[in-house]
Amino acid sequence: MKNLLEIKDLKINFNTEEGIVRAVRGASIRIDKNIIHGLVGESGCGKSVTARSVLNILAANAEIIGGETLYHHQGEIVDLSKLHPDGKEVRKFRWRDISMIFQEPMTSFSPVHTIGNQIMEAILLHSDLSQVAARTHAINMLERVGIPDPAKRIDEYPHQLSGGMRQRAMIAMALSGNPKLLIADEPTTALDVTIQAQIIDLMKQMKDELGMSIMIITHDMGVIAEMADYVSVMYLGKVVESAPVVELFYNPLHPYTKALLKSIPTINSKREEKLTAIAGTVPDAYCIPDGCAFYPRCSQYKPGVCDRSEPNLTEIATDHQVACIMYHGEVETDGGK
């Protein structure tokens, strides 16, 4: 078995004062062993919520109302979404099997404890190492992620570290339990490009050294192209396309993926070529359109078809899945406006 994690038809609602927000509306993602899986989409598409649901660390008003999150663990399959968020069961998996790093290296550490104490806290809580052994392990991890002079830096407070160093410390903490899966939610968005390059490099190197998988969540197609082996594109709470990275960039099928790729200026774009903007804006999550959620912005919208039923994610070629009516056998695929 090469599967590590399978998210199947996941549905998450947020209960707010204004009503129910259907943040994730049946998302399916499969993450294989020892690969980097990119999850990409615009703000509000539900990519962070999907990722957080794996560890059951959703906000209090969020509710998983359907679907499964199957984690393959030593020959067994555990449905993480059914575990109680505060229970002992799910804690067994956090940090040791699956751990997470966040966008804001500034706010994800507590400012009143040294980074060493925070890393050691995680180690002591989840393993039976002694205080001394935990400290040695923490110093070791800091060294592995490239923090200079780790024996001294371990006793520093987060504010004494720069953004890039703090993100390295975060990675050290997340990886100190030797997890099988690292979930990285926009890990480089707050960093400058030269520091971003350092962190991307570090994550790739750690993935190979530790033999884990990484699920990277980002809105930056460049970061995806640089890091990911496999990509899932999300739009309004659903995965609309899933493919190996080269396939997705060179042969995108879903109109949203196509439009997204065309709307980004690249280093090679010519000035004379106008950027292809996607018309309109992402609809409000309170009133998601019937049928395919993308049809109001789609250039290949077919009245009477796209606004009727919502297409499912279907495998078109090996490992290439897409959720668009155009590619479903029973409908003609001549496209057109």
Binding site: T194, D201, G222, A225, T266, S269, L275
Partner: protein
């Protein structure tokens, strides 16, 4: 100042004092902009890039005198063809110049007053500058709103009813109301999602053609800047390290920092083999910049001279081309292609 120049910046500096202690004594200075020289030509789009803290925003504001520059000159050619030093202009004159120079902000959420309707927001500059009143005002507001592809029916709504991209359009309508000739776009699309980013960029380009606008486009997204700009300025720690034609900056890179910066940009192509130059360490503090060349602690080509002497900012372009760089070894290292 040559006829084709709209603006010329000469040795501009902006230092922010650091005050500490009981008597609030000045204990140091943040050298945000530390002596920069460049020109902006009529009708061009000039990009300004650099990492956070390099002083690009401060420079943009100092040019408009939205922050008071510490020293230096900003020469601006007014609509009547007169050349004025913005840094020395008196209140009355400054008010006049400011109609010509405008600023688009990064954050479309905090730059619009939430208690004003779109109509009031767009109409405000017209009233303040006594450009339109009464019936004419209403007509002008509708024109401006249509100009940025918003629907005039929505003009009695408040900013919260609009999405980020629409708010940025409202901001642009405000700026356009004064018929400016020069606009500083400070990270004008950074807060927007990519699909919306493209809409706003296309709008900015259309407006530029229509009204012959000159842009100073401040951004950290290098792919975007390359796509949009005629020339690019690269800043590092309050100083300009390189200015070149945007194509040339990529194909004939002269400064080691530019080389590393450009190579670090993630390319939207999974087949491209990564040839990133990973820089050591991080940007030093602008309070106490290193001696000699500011970039030397992180530079891959560093030599003894770099630690002592500050390099001269000079033109190394061939045959009348302008390509400014501040590196001791620009001639010896030769141009590099970063792709």
């Amino acid at each position: 100042m040559e006829e084709n120049k709209l603006l010329e910046v000469r040795n501009l500096k902006k230092f922010f004092p650091i005050n500490r202690g009981f008597f609030n004594r000045k204990v140091g200075e943040v050298k945000a902009v530390n002596g920069v020289d460049f020109s902006i030509y009529q009708g061009e789009t000039l990009g300004l890039v650099g990492e956070s803290g390099c002083g690009k925003t401060t420079l943009g504001r100092a040019i408009l005198r939205a922050v008071e520059p510490t020293s230096g000159q900003v020469l601006f050619r007014t609509g009547e063809g007169k050349v004025v030093d913005v840094t020395k202009a008196e209140d009355r004159q400054l008010k006049k110049i400011r109609k010509d120079m405008q600023l688009i902000f990064q954050d479309p959420y905090s730059s619009l007053n939430p208690r004003m309707t779109v109509k009031d927001l767009v109409g405000e500059p017209l009233l303040v500058n006594k450009i339109a009143r009464g019936k004419g005002l209403q007509q002008k507001i509708i024109e401006l709103i249509e100009q940025v592809d918003l629907r005039p029916e929505y003009m009695d709504r408040y900013p919260h009813a609009f999405s980020g991209g629409q708010r940025q359009r409202i901001g642009i309508a405000r700026v356009l109301s004064l018929n400016p000739r020069f606009i500083v776009c400070d990270e004008a699309v950074s807060a927007l999602d990519v699909s919306i980013q493209a809409q706003i960029i296309n709008l900015l380009q259309e407006l530029q053609q229509k009204y012959k606008l000159t842009y100073l486009f401040i951004a950290h997204d290098l792919s975007l800047v390359k796509y949009l700009c005629d020339r690019i300025i690269v800043m590092y720690l309050g100083k300009i390290v390189e200015i070149a034609d945007s194509e040339q900056l990529f194909t004939q890179t002269r400064h080691p920092y530019t080389e590393a910066l450009l190579s670090a940009v993630p390319r939207v192509d999974p087949k491209r083999k990564s040839s990133k130059i990973i820089l050591k360490g991080e940007v030093p503090s602008p309070i106490n910049p290193p001696a000699g060349c500011y970039f030397h602690p992180r530079c891959n080509y560093v030599q003894e001279k770099c630690r002592r002497e500050e390099p001269l900012f000079r033109n190394v372009g061939q045959e009348g081309e302008e390509h400014y760089v501040s590196c001791h070894w620009a001639e010896q290292l030769g141009p590099k292609e970063v792709m």
